[in-house]
Symmetry: C2
Subunit: 138 residues, 2 copies
């Protein structure tokens, strides 16, 4: 009745590699499952749920530590929602900062790339000159 899964099935169901699941277990992010007579890991539905939660958080860019925090929070149903909200906001702020950084970077790369009009040899490559900015005085 209570259906169980072996590690390979769990991996397929969650689009996770088998080694990654074992890794999550090793760092305490996944609880240790039962073992079969042959010492195979035997997972229950709760493990599948947990792994899906972890993967979804990872897809959203949370670090493993943040995922662990979120998971811990979610299991304490009496607690205030406040910390979850805070974690989410902080993460969003990080993501937005990274986007800003990358946008600036992309602009600069476009700028640098535009210097190259099919120039001839390295000796007068304007891209390298741009990369060298601050190296030679002019």
């Amino acid at each position: 009745m209570t259906e169980t899964y072996r590690i390979g099935e769990l991996a397929r169901l969650t689009d996770t590699k088998v080694v990654t699941i074992r890794y999550y277990e090793s760092i305490g992010l996944m609880p240790e499952p039962e073992r079969s007579a042959a010492n195979y890991r035997v997972y229950a539905k709760a493990h599948l749920d947990r792994l899906r939660f972890v993967r979804r958080c990872r897809d959203l860019g949370f670090s493993l530590e943040q995922v662990a925090d979120l998971a811990a929070l979610s299991s304490d149903r009496q607690q205030s929602c406040h910390d979850v909200d805070r974690l989410t906001r902080m993460h969003l702020a990080e993501v937005e900062a990274k986007i800003a950084d990358l946008n600036a970077l992309a602009a600069e790369l476009r700028n640098i790339g535009a210097q190259c009009e099919g120039g001839t040899t390295i000796s007068n490559c304007r891209i390298l000159e741009a990369l060298d900015r601050g190296r030679r005085s002019a």
Copy 2:
């Protein structure tokens, strides 16, 4: 006349940590400098130039491997500029892809965060419900 630098000066001039400079040397990205009688590294202007180039490329998000490629290209002054241009374009494409990813992610986080209107406890936290999407059937 030919001015020299010790590793700490080089670090200060390029805003790089001392250990990082040694690390660059260990992976062949920085050439091995002369040594003083006391076995201190003694750098010349060329090393400063090289390190500035490396740091600038890193700031622009190139991987160490890409930096090594760019440096190798830039030293062969007869060669065509084509490869430099290609590397830069490829990198720009990667950066743009990452920006797109992060934008999607930020949108989702904002969406999730908007669910929380100061809800009370974890047991009815809408953020966690959103993170659980796909876990419970409904």
